[in-house]
Amino acid sequence: MNETIEVDIKVPNQTRYLSLIGKIGEDVARTLKKFKGDREELAYHINMVLTEAMANAIIHANADDPSKEVHVKIHIREQELCIHVYDQGQGFDLSTPPKCKENSNKLDEHGRGIFIIHSLMDKVSYAPCSNGHVLEMIKNLK
C-alpha cells in the first residue's frame, strides 16, 4: 500500500507557531502504521526537531523579523521521513560543534538545539536556496 504523505505549511515568523507545527509533525508521525519502532517516541522526536529547526529559522536566520515567514514541508516516502524548513535569512552555522559531549561546558545556556537535531535525525544538512536557506532533516523509518 502506498503510504506517501506530504504536508506543506507556511507560518508567520513568530515563535507562537512552534507548538502548532510541532503538533502537526507529531500527528503525522503517529499515522505511520508501518513503522516498527516506538511510534510515540518518534512522534515526540519529530515535534522536538521541528520546534528546534523552526526556532532557529525564526530567531537566528530570520532575525525575529515579523515581515518574514517560515515554510515547512514534511514528506513521508516508503522508508523515510523528510523535513525541510525554509528560512528567508542569511542563515546560521549548522557546523557549530555539537554541545553536550563530556568535555563541553555543561552550563552553556545556548547551543543545544543543533545538537538535539543531529542526535534525533539520521541526516541533517543546511544549504542556500532561492530567497534564503533550507534545513533538511531525514529520519530512516526502517
Binding site: 515563535t15 515526540y44 520546534t51 554541545k99 543545544r112 538545539g113
Partner: protein, 111 residues
C-alpha cells in the same frame, strides 16, 4: 505563560502550568526567576509536572536559573519530570547537573 509561585519560607516553588516550555515562553520563566533572585530568594524548586515538552530554549532557561542560584549561594532543583522530558535531560546530559526529584514533597525535604 501560566506559572504558580509559592513561597515556602526557605524555598520558593515555581509550578510551570504549561504543556510546553519552549522558545516561545521560556524567557518568561527566566524573567520570573530573575525577579526572585533580586528579592534574595535563591533557593528555588521548579515543578515541571504539567510540562510534557521542553526544548533547548527551555533547558537554557533552567540552566540560567541554576547558575544564578548557585552564584548567590542558593540552589535550583527540579521535580515532576515526565518521562519524555527526562529523556531530553539525559540526551543533553543535564540530568548530571540538576538535582531531580520525583515530586515536590520529596524535593522540599532535601533543602
Amino acid at each position: 505563560m501560566v506559572i504558580q509561585v509559592d513561597d515556602k519560607g526557605e524555598v520558593v516553588v515555581i509550578q510551570v502550568k504549561e504543556e510546553r516550555l519552549d522558545a516561545h515562553n521560556s524567557s518568561e520563566l527566566k524573567a520570573r526567576m530573575l525577579s526572585l533572585f533580586e528579592e534574595d530568594k535563591n533557593n528555588i524548586l521548579i515543578d515541571l509536572n504539567d510540562v510534557r515538552f521542553v526544548d533547548s530554549s527551555g533547558l537554557g532557561a533552567l540552566v540560567s536559573g541554576f547558575k544564578n542560584a548557585s552564584a548567590r549561594n542558593g540552589v535550583l532543583k527540579l521535580c515532576g519530570l515526565q518521562p519524555q522530558v527526562k529523556s531530553m535531560f539525559e540526551l543533553t546530559r543535564l540530568h548530571r547537573v540538576f538535582e531531580i526529584f520525583t515530586d515536590s514533597s520529596e524535593a522540599l525535604s532535601s533543602f
